[in-house]
Each structure stands twice: as C-alpha cells, then as structure tokens.
C-alpha cells in the first residue's frame, strides 16, 4: 500500500492513529487539508500529502496554524469539505480566527483535528485544547480507539454540514502515535466544484460569511443545540457494565482503553460500568442522566484539565432533584492526577482505592531487586542533540561568544530541537523559553530596557520554520524600534524536529510541487537589519561573526547559521569526514582542558575510554561532521575526508 488511497474497502490494516484520522478524512471526501507540523499531529497531513495527487485533493503545510485554519475555511466557504490539523499549542495560535470562524459558521463540512500531548512528552507544555471548543461554542469529539479515529473523523464532516459549523476532533499522543487494527471503509468519488456564493445579504447566516454582529451569537448557540440532540443518539457513546454499577466510570479517548484494562485486571467488570463518551462537548444530558441515575459513585477519568469532570458535575447539580446526590471521584478528589499523562496503572490504583481492593502490580521483593539493578546498571539518558547536529556547534559558538563578551549576555529561546539548549547539551545557553516566535519577541522587549540601565547583550534564537511561522513580526518590531538585539536563525533546511516538513524557505511544498523559496537573509535585509550568514560547523568564522555582532549596537542584527540537520536526507546520504582520536596526542586527564571534548562538548559519538584514559570515536554513533576536531586544544581529534 503506497498511500492510504490504495487501501481497499473491507481491508484490515494496522494503522497509526494519525493514519486512521487521515483515512477517515479521505473516506469523507475531504478536498482541502492544511496544517502546521507539530508532534503528535504531523503524520495526518503527511499521509494526506502522500495521497494528494491520487485523490485529486489540495494539501498544504501552511506558514502557521492560524493560516492553516484560514486556508481550510476558504474551502469550506466554497462548499468543499475541508480539514485543518495542528497540535494543541497550535490551536492557541489559531484561536483568534477560530472564534470568528465559529461565529460566521461554515458551509462544506469542516473539521479541526487538535492533537494533544498529555505529559508534554514532545512539547513545552501539556495544554488542553478542549477548553477552546467550549469557549468558541463548537462541538467536540474524542475517539476512544483506532477504528473510531477513522469513523469519527468521517462523521465529523457530516455533523459539520448538518449544523453548518466547524467540528473539533481531539486526539492525544496515545491515540495519534499508537497503532491498532482498523477496517477500511469505501472511498467516495468527489468532484465538487468550488464556488463562493455571496448572493443574498452578507448578514444572513445562510449566505454571508461575515463574522460580525452580536446577533450571530444566537445562531452559534442554535447550532450547538442541534449537535447535542444528535449526540444523544450517537453510537460513539457506549456503555458496558451492569445495570446498577457500584461505580460508574465516565471517560473518553485513550483513557477508555486504560479504564477497560484496569477493570479487567482487577476483575471488577461485573461491578464497574464504563460510560465511554465520544461526544464530549456539549455533553448529551439525557444520556448522562440515564447513567448517572444508575450509580451513587462516579469516577471521571481524563487527561490534563478536569474538563469532563466539571461539565459532568454541572449536569449532576442541575439534575440532582431527579438523580439524587452523587459521590464524585476524579481530579478534584486526587484519585486521578492533574499533571502528566495517564496509564492503566493510575486508573487501577484509583479503582482499587475507591472499591477498597488490594492490588500489587509487582511482588515487593522482585520490585526491590529490579529497582536496585535499574538504579545501578541503567544510567538515565539525558536529553541530547543528535551526533553531528548543527545546533551543538551553534550553541558552542554562542556560549563561547557570550562568555568572552563578559557582559552577562543571554539567549531568548524558541520552539524546536534547539529548545534543549536550555540544558547541558546546549551548554545551558538558553535562558527564556515560551511559545513559537516569542524568543525574538521577548528579546525585542529586553533590548528596549537600555534606558533603564540594562547593558546585557540580548540574543534570540529561532529555527527556519519558526522564522516564517511567527519570527517575522517579532523581527519587524525589533527593527522598527531599533531594538539592539542579535537574532540567530538556526537554519537547518526544514521543519526538522517533526520530520522535515516543507516551509516557505524551501523549493518544494507538501504536494511535492516546485514552489518559489523565500530567502530568509533577503527578507531580513529588506527590513533593514544587518545580516550575516555563516556555517556553524566553521567554529572560528561563526565565533568571529558573533563577537562582531555583539559589539555592534545600532539596532537589530541577524546571524543566519546555515547547516542541514544531521537527519536530513542530504546529510544522511553520506559522511563528510572519517574521525579518529590520536591516542598519542590525547593527554586525557593530564591535558588541563578538563576533558572539554567529552565532559563539556558532549557529542554522543565521542566517548571516553576509561581503560586507556583517552577519548575515542564510537564509529556506530559518529556521523562525521568534523566539528570536534576544532575544540581539542591538543589537536588530537583528527578528521580525514571520507
């Protein structure tokens, strides 16, 4: 199966959750899909872009999430089915348009898939986009397994057309990045002609797409009411368990799988009922009433915010006269943690505690032994840049330049692999981290504190994709206000952290078509910034440029450090250098460098040979970038052209 379009109806397939979402969109006849890369969402647009030509659809990696939502909305306005995809943090970026879109409404079925990262496994935070569905008053769906991820996506388009508004589908890492069996449905033949009709009054909800006028709020609420009526009958809400359970679990998403497994392990399936909700906002009140009436004790199992828990409690309060007073367990009672992702064991402990059951997941003696072995024989793996990563070289130079400058300069960080430079792998160089584009934005503020006595040099870093995403307005602000900062663009030729998705600096787009590339250096020059471009693997030249820029105090400066990611196709195709350490030249602990190479530089490909007391190249790990040769004061690390 080369693309998801090749999967025949009825075929059983092991799909990653994100493949299931993409297939669901294709089975719904989606015609336009747009997104911005972000873990754990990226594979949805990737899969659609692979299938695009075959399916005759348009797919793009937009410049940022707000644009992705806008591009998809235009297709919906022109009566096509449209999809926007982003990670949770991206919904924050898109939220301004999202509010207005919910107010104008949509025409062709339009779905927003928001993929969240409970526990922030690959994010700067564990946000919760569900609150946006409530805030902007649109329906919210959450699939509870892989088949549902596909089927629910398809249904979301239909629902959107029924209520003429956007529908949000929420996924989590354990849904998007997990895999399971799904059965394919049919692929429709779609040939809807796009036309934006604007006959009639622009204020008419059926003819106008103008999100203005307070009266429109009424339409939004009417649409939501219609959705609730449909939710009451939805097959995506299921119940399994006895008629009168001792405990009713209300759950959704991957947590459903944890709850089901916990109940099985504890062997309490005859006493515990599981109400799995697929339609989580607004809650269908009659369904909730029926189930809550049957149990005195209710446990809500969900990740991140107590979103369902609070909404369920509001309903329970309203219905108290009919269903009686309930005992609630969940985040408020601390049976379910408010921080971090859940797993079967957390639900197990909650169940064991509430039902007063004993459970031991591991015999104490075995746990003690394995715990001791793990502590002594499995040293933790700290976050690190890959071997041959240009960021390690860049931060080596930035760190050294700031230390030499000695005015307590610091770096405002941004979002990408390079965020890790807040830790030892980047020599603890980054000192602030917030959202995408904010490094340069915050730096432009710091740089205006000169009149209050701040003399520290201000540096900001941002990646090439981040530059286009939200770095440009920040730089405009800095240039216009003569903010004395140095913006360093760590240009590694792609949206590297999420898997090399295209961005406007490249000549190929998501459809694999040739497109005009925008030159970051020219953009910055045209704004009036002083611009330098260097190869970070050339440590002496990079440091010289940095020293000079830190001295230059006339407004905003940009240093572009251009070197492809170590995992990029062009670098993976071959090693530039074959590296080795000359054992006769390496003085080891006696050098006086304090093991600069292995203790400070910390590339996984350059290891310490304890027996010989010298450093050594690990030929399995080293990718031959050659940078370490320049950091050894003894010139013991040798590079030969491979």
């Amino acid at each position: 199966m080369a693309t998801l379009m090749d999967g025949k109806e009825g075929m059983e397939y092991m799909a990653m959750g994100n493949e299931a979402f993409a297939r669901g969109a294709l089975e719904a006849g989606v015609q336009v899909a747009a997104g911005y890369p972000g873990t754990p969402s990226s594979e949805i647009i990737e899969q659609l872009s692979r299938a695009a030509k075959q399916a005759g659809i348009y797919v793009e990696w937009s410049v940022n999430e707000k644009l992705a939502l806008e591009v998809a909305a235009a297709a919906s306005f022109a009566e096509l089915r449209a999809l926007a995809v982003m990670k949770q943090n991206g919904v924050n970026v898109a939220s301004d348009f999202l509010l207005h879109l919910a107010t104008s409404g949509t025409r062709g079925g339009m779905v927003l898939i928001a993929c969240e990262d409970p526990g922030a496994l690959s994010s700067v935070n564990e946000g919760d986009a569900r609150a946006f569905a409530k805030l902007v008053e649109i329906p919210l769906l959450e699939p509870g397994d892989f088949q549902e991820a596909k089927d629910m996506t398809k249904w979301a388009f239909e629902l959107s057309e029924q209520i003429r508004n956007l529908v949000m589908v929420r996924s989590v890492t354990r849904m998007s990045h997990a895999s399971g069996n799904i059965r394919f449905g049919p692929l429709p033949k779609v040939s809807t002609k796009a036309e934006y009709k604007y006959s009639g009054s622009p204020l008419d909800p059926n003819t106008g797409m103008i999100a203005a006028g307070g009266f429109r709020h009424r339409f939004v609420l009417d649409k939501l009411k219609k959705a609730v009526a449909l939710f009451e009958e939805s097959p995506f809400n299921t119940y399994q368990g006895p008629e009168k359970p001792a405990l009713l679990i209300i759950t959704s998403s991957a947590c459903y799988l944890y709850a089901r497994e916990a109940a099985r392990i504890l062997d309490v399936e005859d006493r515990v009922g599981i109400l799995k909700l697929g339609t989580t906002w607004p809650l269908p009140p009659n369904l909730l009433k029926k189930h809550m009436a049957s149990a005195d004790n209710i446990l809500v199992v969900e990740e991140v915010a107590p979103f369902m828990e609070e909404n369920v409690k509001v309903l329970a309060a309203e219905m108290a006269g009919e269903i009686g007073i309930k005992n609630f367990y969940g985040k408020k009672s601390e049976h379910i943690p408010s921080v971090g992702e859940l797993n079967p064991d957390i639900v197990l402990s909650a169940l064991a505690d509430i039902l007063d059951l004993g459970y031991e997941s591991m015999p104490a003696e075995y746990a003690k032994k394995t715990g001791a072995f793990a502590t002594t024989k499995a040293p933790a793996r700290a976050l690190t840049f890959c071997p041959g990563c240009p960021h390690r070289a860049s931060f080596w130079s930035i760190h050294n330049a700031l230390e030499l400058d000695a005015r307590k300069g610091f770096v405002c960080g941004d979002i990408g692999c390079y965020t890790m430079a807040a830790g030892p792998t980047g020599f603890n160089t980054i000192k602030t981290v917030h959202s995408m584009g904010s490094g340069t934005g915050v730096a432009s503020g710091f740089a205006k504190l000169r009149q209050f006595g701040m003399e520290q040099p201000i540096v900001a870093v941002c990646g090439d994709s981040t530059f286009f995403h939200s770095g440009i307005p920040a730089l405009v602000n800095a240039v216009h206000h003569k903010a004395d900062l140095t913006m360093i663009v760590l240009d590694n030729s792609g949206t590297a952290m999420t898997g090399f998705q295209s961005h406007p600096g490249l000549t190929v787009n998501a459809m694999h078509d040739e497109v005009p590339a925008l030159d970051i250096a020219e953009i910055c020059r045209s704004m009036g910034a002083r611009v330098e471009v260097r190869d970070p693997f050339n440590l002496p030249e990079t440091q010289a440029a940095l020293n000079e820029l830190l001295e230059y105090r006339e407004g905003a400066k940009v240093l572009i450090l251009r070197q492809a990611c170590a995992l990029s196709p062009q670098r993976k195709s071959g090693q530039k250098f074959k590296m080795h350490v000359d054992e006769n030249l390496c003085l080891g602990e006696d050098c006086g460098c304090g093991r600069l190479c292995t203790r400070i530089f910390r590339c996984p490909g350059l290891i310490w040979d304890e027996a010989k007391g010298v450093s050594r190249i690990d030929e399995v790990i080293c990718v031959g970038c050659g940078v370490c040769a320049d950091i050894c004061p003894q010139q013991a690390i040798k590079r030969e052209v491979a």
Partner: protein, 207 residues
Amino acid sequence: MGQTRLTKDPYNLIITGVGGQGNVMASRVLGNMLVRQGLSVTIGETFGSSQRGGSVMSHMRISEKGNWSPQIPKGQADLILALEPSEAVRLLASYGNSTVKVLSNTRPIYPMDVIAGEKKYPSIEEIIPSVKELTSEAWFIPATDEALKMGNAIYGNIIMLGALAATGALPMDTEVFKEVIAEFLSEDKLDMNLKAYEFGGEMLKKT
C-alpha cells in the same frame, strides 16, 4: 486461524532501545507481520523530545481478541526485546516479572552523563547475570557487532527481529517478513535485510 497461536492473550512485548537504532521500524515491521497473520496488534510508542540518544520503547499488545491499551500495565511484560542492554535492565524495573523473557543486543550506547564521567555504565559481564536472575529466560546477541561486519550498524534491529522469530515466542513467518519488509524499504536493500533476519535466527540458536 481460529486456534490460539499465542502462549498468552494479550502477549505483551516491549521493543526498547536508544533513538536512532530503528526501534520504531522494528515494531512496525513486526506489527504488520502479525496483523497479516490475522492477529490484532496495538502498539504504543514512547520516544522523547530528541530524535537521537534518548530511551525509546514500543509497547506491543498482540491478541486474538482485538485492541488493548497502548501502554502495558506495570509488571506485565512477557518479553522485552532490547536493542541496547542497559535499556533491558531499565524496563525490568517497571514491566518485569518472574516469567518475563529478555532478548538483548550486547553493544552499549553510552548516555551523555556516562560520557561526561558523571555516571557509570556497567560492563556487559555485570549486566548479563543480573538480567538472568530477574527473568525466566534471557538471550544476549552481539547484533550490532555483527551488523557492522555486514557493513552497517542499522541492520542490528532486523538481526534482533530474526532472533525473536527463532525464540518461537510469536508466530513469525519468514515469507511474511519478506512481504512486509518490501513495503518498508527500497528493493536494493531487501537482500541485506533478509540476510540480517536469517542471520539473527542462526545467532539465537547458537546462544
């Protein structure tokens, strides 16, 4: 089909290693092999923020009865396949039990704190008896060293899959492996990967 081909349902397998060793690919190749043989497979991948150098694991739930939680409950692994030996030790503390089996590569990848001299990495001679003590069966194979002899360390993951097949823990068929690997890799790479798979089986039999 129809008869039970699993020694336990769900059979809980963890494939673990360090980012860059082909952990995710191994789990997807194996998952596809088993699904083609009519089984249900649920996989949960855990990988950190960095693409290389972090601990990685894929939880696989293999069942005749449908999909399970993508995270294996504590203490419930049936087999741990480790592409890096210290990762096997790490996982035993969370997912081990007295009947668990371990199949491990022998070549270490040193964590940064070990390279920096802040932590110690045990020798393989220290790791092997500890793992044997905590498992019902344990096999150690120099997969990466042999892969290097074949020309590229990356064959290590396929060697380990071949060894897994030879343990007989799961219904793995060489013909199905050939079909699946052809969907993952370009044609010029198929011969070497089949060789690696078969070689892994031979290595296991020699342990």
